[in-house]
């Protein structure tokens, strides 16, 4: 199963995401903000990154930009967890190199369906 990096400064949401993914048999690495995530991403390869946008320290957009500069994360799927459904916000993520997005609030089932799509 896949190794997934879940990034969110909200503990409850991160726990929900992590729990859901673990239930589905994935291995989950949790990070509380962009900086933490970048550190953990560098520490070992992951197959998918799920990241919140608004975070202290380093936000999700900067994280995507940083990850895309790393050779091993050039093509890795990165999904933004966003509450913004407006096109500009999604564009911002895309422009930075994000693969796609999941709009909050989402249910565990929606999350798994979306994850399945990028993990193939």
């Amino acid at each position: 199963m896949a190794k997934i990096l879940a990034v969110d400064d909200s503990t409850s949401l991160r726990q929900m995401v992590a729990f859901t993914l673990k239930q589905a048999g994935h291995e989950v690495v949790e990070a509380s903000d962009g900086r933490d995530a970048l550190q953990k991403a560098k520490g070992g390869r992951v197959d998918l990154v799920l990241s919140d946008v608004n975070m202290p320290g380093m936000d999700g957009i900067s994280l995507v930009k940083e990850l895309r500069t790393l050779p091993s994360y050039k093509f890795t799927p990165i999904l933004m967890l966003t509450t913004e459904s407006s096109p500009e916000k999604k564009q911002e993520g895309k422009a930075a190199g994000a693969t796609g997005w999941i709009v909050k609030p989402f249910s565990p089932d929606q999350l798994l369906a979306t994850v399945k799509r990028v993990l193939g």
């Binding site: 409850s12 729990f19 380093m58 967890l81 509450t83 895309k94 190199g97 609030p105 993990l119």
Partner: protein
């Protein structure tokens, strides 16, 4: 698969309440257009909104959405922080908190109030805002067909966002039978080829009754990175499609190539970055990163550390015994053992410190609620009050912190209600119109000291004394020092407020404050000067789990005396032992007479008929400003002990604060010095030895 999200609700609520506190603090502090502060407030609202929807608090999510939009406008500079706006946001914080509390406790919310605030937010947002939240509904009517012909020409860069066409096709295949035809026309000459770019285009034939939206949704993430055509399969196209499709459209510009009903979904250059990105760049680094750990886990860890501490002390005893009886041959082995022990001791100490550290939180957690409270209370009472906080980073055990909250609130309320005067009175007294309440915290020894001072009127000595006489707390002819009079406010049932106000008089008196603080092993005192103000000083142990203790032996039993309460230990000199009124022994230490206490008698461990003090030692302990000399047979050594509660393992015993397990496995009781004083008082001793009475002893 279905997952129960309710298990995360507790965490969500906790962090939401924390987020609300942050919002409140930052709002109260908001000056001008402080981008960092607004960012912090926005982020808190944003997290609450995001979580609320996910964890089933739709109403909260909806309400917070409006708040978030307001904040977003502030953040992007479209709106400035006027006092009215800040007030509205503060009210919103209250509403969200109320809704979440109601959700937690299953209680009712004040729907009218929430609706009012909600309406005010809507009004503030103005019209036309509602539409912007919903940019999704642009795909037109649901178009059902027996199948779709899809022409997909991705930009070469598409792979760099992690979008793999293969996965898109896999997703399409879930909608119905899919035929894929690859178009190689764009492939550049081999020499010019970039292996990481995508030069392929595809024609896809999807059969079945999937809606156009379902098909478009598959391509949602790449719609700005490709040319995409989705058109209904024509019935007559049927089997011929395989041959027709590649020719019917020619690569790149695709849009105009076919007639009929094709809808170019989107073709947007991927470089549009909205202006708001720039303002969101500089993130404040003010939050301390923190972990949330279940207290049960920590308690288990502390228990483990406790066991480790016991093992270590056991080992060192073995080592010492070995040292005593060792022959020359096992000397190297002994050295090794001692070396290992030294290491174990060091490790134990380090582990213990780091584990204890997990429980420590800065006192700002307890202080944070005060800015709002002081703000509201001052307004209510028509007083101008400034709150000054210092030492917020002073760390304190979480358990102690939770229990000190209410006493602190009471003391701060008290300072504002009774201490600080109205502006007119203050100006008349030559003081600035605005009073100041100062909350300060610092470490001193193994204790944390919290001070609440005000520059108000100070305690009214005469009024307190009159009241105390009236209530029969002191005899009318009793001579009391100022400190003793001030201390009377902590006496049970004492309240100086002429009328019970709804601010301070909630049936909880200062006696309860003192009782609660004492229950934490702490103390509270007051210093006051008329016209200059009062200072309440709370002393608390840093933690309730481990204690620095002095091991003493009394009549074969071992006890632990908290090191913090020991003043000194002395050898008894018979000429200094005096008897008072034939029933009480006191010891003259320098210029003081200190009551002597026989532990074995007091705790009912079997009193010895005749008390030979000559060979004994006295441990002079102090609590609440009073001293007591405990008679012990031997001082055994100092060590850290892990406190095991008597309540959970046995039952509560007055005069004892718990028990601990020593290195040899025996149990030693931990003495509670203030409890001992209470016991002693009940047993007929007189702990408060005043200078006026000392002469009869001498």
């Amino acid at each position: 698969m279905s997952i129960d999200v309710s298990q995360f609700v507790q965490t969500f609520l906790e962090e939401s309440f924390e987020g609300l506190d942050v919002m409140e603090a930052q709002l109260l502090d908001l000056q001008g257009d402080d981008v960092e502060a607004v960012n912090t407030i926005f982020r808190a609202a944003h997290s609450i909104k995001g979580g609320a929807g996910t964890f089933g608090f739709a109403a909260v999510g909806e309400f917070t959405h409006g708040v978030e939009t307001l904040l977003d406008e502030m953040r992007s500079g479209h709106r400035s922080a006027t006092p009215e706006l800040v007030k509205l946001l503060l009210e919103s914080v209250d509403c969200i908190r109320e809704m979440l509390q109601a959700a937690r406790d299953g209680a009712e919310v004040d729907a009218a109030r929430i609706a009012t605030v909600g309406a005010a937010i809507e009004a503030s947002l103005g019209k036309g805002e509602a539409a912007s939240a919903d940019g999704e509904a642009a795909h037109g009517e649901v178009n059902v067909s027996s199948g779709w012909h899809i022409r997909f020409v991705p930009e070469p860069e598409v792979l760099r966002t992690g979008n793999d066409p293969l996965r898109l096709f896999a997703a399409l295949e879930e909608l119905g039978p899919l035929q894929v035809q690859c178009d190689l026309d764009r492939l550049p000459p081999f020499a010019d080829m970039d292996a990481e770019a995508c030069w392929l285009a595809w024609d896809l034939r999807l059969e079945g009754d999937a809606s156009r939206e379902a098909v478009a949704e598959v391509f949602e993430w790449v719609e700005d990175q490709c040319e995409l055509l989705i058109e209904p399969l024509r019935e007559d196209e049927g089997a011929g499609a395989e041959e027709d499709a590649p020719e019917s459209v020619s690569p790149p510009p695709v849009s105009g190539a076919t007639s009929g009903t094709p809808v170019p979904i989107a073709s947007v250059p991927g470089s549009a970055v909205p202006a708001s990105a720039a303002s969101a760049k500089s993130r404040p680094a003010t939050e301390s990163s923190s972990i949330r750990v279940n207290i049960d886990k920590i308690d288990a860890l502390i228990n483990m550390v406790g066991e480790l501490v016991i093992t270590q002390s056991m080992l060192s005893q073995v080592g010492e015994r070995l040292e005593g009886s060792a022959g020359a041959d096992n000397l190297p082995c002994l050295e090794k053992l001692l070396e290992g022990l030294a290491q174990l001791e060091r490790n134990t100490r380090e582990l213990q410190e780091s584990v204890m550290g997990i429980r420590m939180l800065p006192i700002s957690f307890a202080f944070n609620r005060f800015p709002r409270m002081v703000h509201d209370l001052g307004a209510k009472l028509g007083k101008q009050v400034q709150l000054k906080l210092s030492g917020e980073q002073t760390e304190l055990d979480k358990t102690v912190m939770e229990k000190i909250g209410d006493p602190l609130v009471h003391l701060v309320r008290n300072s504002i209600d009774h201490g600080i005067e109205t502006p007119e009175v203050r100006v008349a007294a030559g003081k600035p119109a605005a009073g100041e309440v100062h909350l300060n915290a610092f470490h001193k020894g193994g204790n944390i000291v919290i001070q609440i001072s005000d520059d108000g009127a100070g305690l009214n000595r005469d009024r307190i004394l009159n009241k105390a006489v009236e209530r029969g707390l002191v005899a009318p002819d009793q001579v009391l020092s100022d400190e003793q009079i001030h201390d009377l406010i902590f006496a049970p049932g004492f309240s100086t407020a002429e009328q019970v106000s709804d601010v301070s008089g909630r049936g909880v008196g200062m006696d309860v404050v003192r009782k609660n603080i004492k229950a934490l092993g702490g103390s509270v005192e007051v210093q006051s000067r008329p016209g200059e103000g009062s200072t309440f000083t709370i002393r608390l142990p840093l933690t309730l789990a481990i204690l620095d203790g002095q091991l003493v032996e009394v009549d074969g039993e071992r006890y632990v005396v908290p090191l913090i309460s020991i003043v000194e230990s002395i050898q008894v000199r018979p000429e200094f032992v005096k008897s008072v009124a034939e029933r009480r022994l006191v010891y003259r230490l320098r210029d003081e007479y200190i009551p002597i206490l026989f532990l074995d008698a007091l705790l009912g461990a079997g009193a010895r008929p005749e008390r030979q003090l000559t060979d004994s030692l006295l441990v002079v302990v102090e609590a609440e400003g009073q001293k007591l000399a405990l008679v012990v047979d031997d001082l055994l050594g100092q060590q850290q002990v892990v406190i095991k509660a008597l309540e959970t393992n046995f039952r509560r015993v007055e005069g004892l604060s718990g028990a601990t397990i020593l290195g040899d496995g025996t149990v030693a009781l931990i003495l509670d010095v203030s409890g001992l004083m209470t016991l002693d008082k009940q047993a007929g001793g007189q702990p408060g030895w005043r200078p006026s009475r000392e002469h009869e002893a001498a």
